[in-house]
């Protein structure tokens, strides 16, 4: 009797799979991960802070410091503007946007070498945020140009364009 029920269940499943357009070419979708308890994901793999927490959810304190930095920048107090961002980084050390802002300020101060490395750092933290990365590459391009490396600048620009395109 049990065997009969199992046959019905099996036939039903075949039907469902068929309806779903099962193809022998496709990558095996079964069994799922939880059905293979001996397999494990390397625990280093985890969703990044940025993936879990989009940039718009910065704490008010960080937003206030970014605003303060911008006001100082507009009045030409660049070091002071950087200082506000450094305070923000202490609160959110892995916020790629903050690193990018410091990079922008350093470029405005004509410190291309430092701006370049800060933009690279921002890129390292910007997992999945293509727009932010594209801006970083543009910044890197400009810094490379100021450093007298037009070819590297061109490559950086291409990378910036690629990120926007894709």
């Amino acid at each position: 009797m049990d065997r009969f029920y199992k046959l019905v269940l099996f036939t039903g499943l075949i039907g469902l799979v068929g309806c779903a357009g099962f193809s022998v070419d496709s990558y095996p979708s079964l069994p799922a991960k939880h059905e293979a308890p001996s397999a494990q994901s390397y625990p280093g793999k985890q969703p990044s802070v940025e993936q879990r927490m989009p940039a718009s959810t910065e704490p008010l304190a960080v937003i206030a410091l970014m605003d303060a930095s911008e006001i100082k920048r507009r009045s030409g107090h660049f070091e002071s503007a950087v200082s506000s961002l450094e305070r923000a980084i202490k609160i959110q050390p892995r916020n790629a946007g903050l690193w990018q802002r410091i990079a922008e300020l350093r470029l405005e101060q004509y410190k291309p070498r430092l701006a370049l490395d800060l933009a690279r750092k921002s890129n390292t933290l910007a997992s999945g945020n293509r727009a932010l990365k594209s801006r970083n590459w543009k910044l890197i391009a400009e810094a490379q140009r100021l450093l007298g490396k037009p070819e590297a600048a061109l490559k950086a620009e291409e990378e910036a364009a690629r990120l926007v395109r894709e």
Binding site: P28, L30, K33, A36, K90, P93, T124
Partner: protein
């Protein structure tokens, strides 16, 4: 003829005699003029010139001698800030805020359970002036829940508390002061001072004959010195000279110098110097000079916040700060204070009602003085070292510089407490004794030194083991060996199999035969496992394969500046480094391959708050972030499954910390280095005589590392894979590409395109897979 001649002769003799007398007289006159008037006059003029020079030199050079004041990192207040109510109150007490329900002055607070009302103290930070503000805040669950401005009721996004002063750079005579301008001093203080010390200050020319006469009469009557006739100007001269002798010659000198001082400078300048110079107390070796510091020292108030009864007490202390010490002799100090109040009443400076009210007030002296000795000698050592590059010693001790450092007091406190506790516990083990310790804690990003311990006795100002000793680093070097290998993705990945077999090397006529800690060989072992288990033979094989020169280059890229000799033994950590140097190396790993020089100072301000120099955040990409990502995931495995796994008996598993332990030959040194999401710490344990401590990195240093991280770290480690990283399932039996369906499959990170291409037999085609599932189903059914 003869008579005539005789007469003539006599008159000649008389003439001669007269001329001799005249000459003699003239000579005496000349001698008198020369020796009695001209020479003494000349000497006097030269002496006055010398005094004039001395007075001007002393007055202009020394009156503003203020030690540099050193501050800890300020606490940031914002909604969500990780801070407990008790910790906040502790901070307020360290900042010497007074409990005052009315918040009548700045630097006061009031606590009701988890709600605080605070009137903050203003402070000039590097980037902006922060005025005093009235704030109201609530704490819930170890966080700041709300932060509001009392006056407007509006929320405050972020606010920096004034920083705790942790030290001063005193000149050789240990004078400390807070500079006060005359205009800032309460008029009542000046009135009290003149009433008690020098009523005719604005009338005399430096000395007051009337006052001297009055003093002489009083002293004659009393039969001894009971009253001084010195004016404020004379007292200032005396203080500037720092000579306590009471000889008549010195008194005369003082008087002359006082007149010269009055000649050169106006009354207000002299009074201002006096207000800042006068000695008002002693705390250990530190001498309290001036009313600015004295008001903080005795009342925890700024000068502008003093009331009549405080002012009278301070003015009374001028007569004898030690004799009338209000902390030691409160009754004597009260009598002296009330006398000053009465004097002020007599002179009409205060009304009888004010005087009566003030005399009824308690002394209100704060219960304890500030800390007498340097509290953080090891950290201050690093600060001083950094400052000496740019400042001369005399700039540090006299210019009143304000040095804003990176020291985080809660982290330092946690470090000191846990170090003492852990070392005591370890010394309960047999034959473990005389342990010493050095620890450096930094912020994971930015390289700021948050805490530093140079030895077991945190207050001992001697050998700083965090910076001044170099010890073999043992296995702490291994991440650099594997980083070098992984930087060549064509040859090495995290699953590359390495032969963990014995090796013998000839070097300089000697044979070097390294062994594993367990004295076994482990055969082919995957790279990640070799690091996690800290196998020595694997590290030697990999290091020799990639080249010792390249490993040294990696160490240099990570921030080791010391010259490293290219011996094979460096692959097992035969490199002598200080804990601070090791921190620099691991800092580059923690910061994704970006090197940031470690910093102990954020900024230096002039005494008036003008920014002089800032030490900003800088980064330099030193190693490819993708390779560092690989190493960091391996360092997480070390702490999860390898030699560091005991950390999770204290830390929550989601912290996913990355780190490495190190042990040197004969168990001489025990190391632990690693980082969480917010802090990096490097711990060394050993003995000063370099004998065995009978502890490994895991059984020694790691204990302190874990206890410390549990207390200070608030953010789990969250590694962000760069774009060039891909995750691939690997069959751990064959080491080949698999999928999550395979039993024993683990997902590992690879540099994109360099994961093993060959497919493991465990990966069956979908059809096969389907068939086996089908079979399984019926087999299961058959058994039922």
């Amino acid at each position: 003829m003869t008579a005539k001649r005789r007469k003539k002769n006599t008159s000649v003799r008389r003439g001669r005699k007269k001329s001799f007398r005249t000459r003699l007289w003239n000579r005496i006159q000349r001698l008198f003029l020369f020796w009695g008037i001209l020479i003494p006059g000349f000497v006097f003029v030269v002496y006055i010139g010398y005094l004039d020079y001395s007075v001007r030199h002393l007055f202009e050079g020394k009156r503003w001698s203020i030690p540099a004041h050193v501050y800890a990192s300020p606490t940031e207040l914002y909604v969500g800030a990780p801070l407990k109510a008790d910790a906040f109150e502790d901070l307020l007490q360290q900042l010497r805020y007074r409990k005052d329900r009315r918040l009548s002055t700045e630097a006061t607070y009031f606590r009701n359970l988890n709600r605080f009302k605070v009137s903050t103290r203003p402070f000039r930070f590097w980037d902006e002036e922060q005025p005093s503000r009235g704030i109201e805040m609530d704490f819930v669950g170890g966080e700041v829940k709300s932060l509001k401005d009392i006056d407007s009721g509006k929320s405050i996004a972020i606010l920096r508390m004034d920083p705790v002063q942790i030290d001063s750079f005193y000149p050789s005579h240990n004078e400390d002061r807070i500079l006060a301008r005359l205009q800032e001093a309460p008029p009542m203080l000046i009135e009290a001072l003149l009433a008690t010390e020098d009523r005719n200050f604005y009338q005399h020319y430096g000395v007051s004959p009337k006052a001297i006469l009055r003093a002489v009469i009083a002293n004659l009557r009393a039969g001894g010195v009971v009253q001084g006739g010195s004016t404020i100007t004379q007292q200032l001269v005396k203080n500037l000279y720092l000579n306590p002798s009471r000889s008549l010659w010195r008194k005369a000198n003082e008087a002359m110098m006082a007149v010269i001082l009055e000649f050169h400078y106006d009354k207000d300048e002299i009074l201002e110097a006096y207000v800042n110079e006068v000695f008002l107390g002693q705390e250990g070796r530190r001498a309290i000079h001036g009313f600015g510091l004295a008001s903080q020292f005795y009342f925890d108030r700024s000068l502008g916040d003093l009331e009549l009864h405080h002012i009278a007490l301070l003015a009374g202390l001028v007569k004898g700060a030690s004799y009338y010490n209000p902390r030691r002799s409160p009754e004597r100090a009260t009598r002296r204070r009330n006398l000053v109040i009465d004097l002020m009443k007599e002179l009409g400076h205060v009304t009888p009602e004010q005087a009566t009210r003030a005399k009824k007030m308690p002394l209100e002296v704060s219960s304890r003085g500030r800390h007498t000795t340097t509290r953080f000698p090891a950290f201050m050592d690093v600060v001083r070292h950094q400052l000496r590059v740019e400042y001369r010693e005399e700039d540090l001790t006299s210019e009143g510089l304000q040095i804003l450092t990176t020291l985080e007091l809660p982290v330092q406190k946690a470090l000191e407490t846990n170090a003492e506790k852990t070392l005591k516990a370890l010394e309960k083990r047999p034959k473990v004794e005389r342990l010493q310790v050095a620890t450096v804690v930094t912020r994971r990003e930015g390289g700021e030194i948050a805490a530093l311990l140079g030895g077991r006795d945190a207050r001992f100002n001697g050998l700083n083991r965090a910076t001044d000793i170099q010890r073999m680093i043992g296995s702490l070097v291994k991440p650099a060996v594997y980083l070098t290998a992984l930087d060549d993705p064509e040859r090495y990945s995290v699953v590359t199999r390495i032969d963990d077999v014995a090796v013998e090397l000839e070097s300089g006529g000697k044979t070097w035969a390294p062994r594993n800690f367990d004295r076994k060989e482990h055969g082919p072992v995957e790279l990640h496992r070799a690091l996690a288990m800290s196998y020595n033979l694997s590290a030697v094989h990999v290091g020799l394969d990639v080249g010792i020169g390249r490993v040294v280059k990696t160490l240099r890229n990570l921030g080791i500046e010391r010259k490293i000799r290219k011996y094979p033994s460096i692959l097992l950590g035969a490199i002598e480094l200080s804990p601070l140097e090791v921190t620099q190396m691991y800092q580059t790993l923690a910061a994704d391959g970006f090197r940031t020089p470690l910093r102990s100072i954020r900024a230096v301000l002039a005494n008036d708050g003008t920014p002089l120099r800032r030490y900003p955040l800088t980064v330099r990409q030193a190693v490819d972030p993708a390779t560092v990502f690989l190493i960091n995931t391996l360092l997480q495995e070390v702490m999860r499954e390898g030699s560091g796994r005991s950390v999770y008996s204290l830390l929550s598993a989601n912290y996913a910390v990355a780190g490495k332990t190190g042990t040197t030959n004969n168990l001489r040194d025990s190391w632990a280095a690693g980082f969480s999401g917010d802090y990096l710490a490097v711990v060394w344990l050993g003995r000063d005589d370099n004998r065995s401590i009978r502890l490994t990195g895991s059984s020694g240093a790691l204990k302190l590392w874990s206890a410390l991280m549990r207390e200070v770290s608030r953010q789990p480690l969250d590694l962000v894979p760069p774009d060039s990283i891909e995750w691939v399932w690997i069959d751990s039996e064959s080491g080949l590409r698999a999928n999550e369906a395979c039993s024993n499959a683990v997902e590992y990170p690879f540099i994109s395109g360099y994961a093993p291409a060959a497919v493991s037999p465990c990966m069956k085609s979908p059809l096969e897979d389907f068939g086996s599932w089908y079979e399984e189903l019926f087999r299961f059914g058959g058994e039922d």
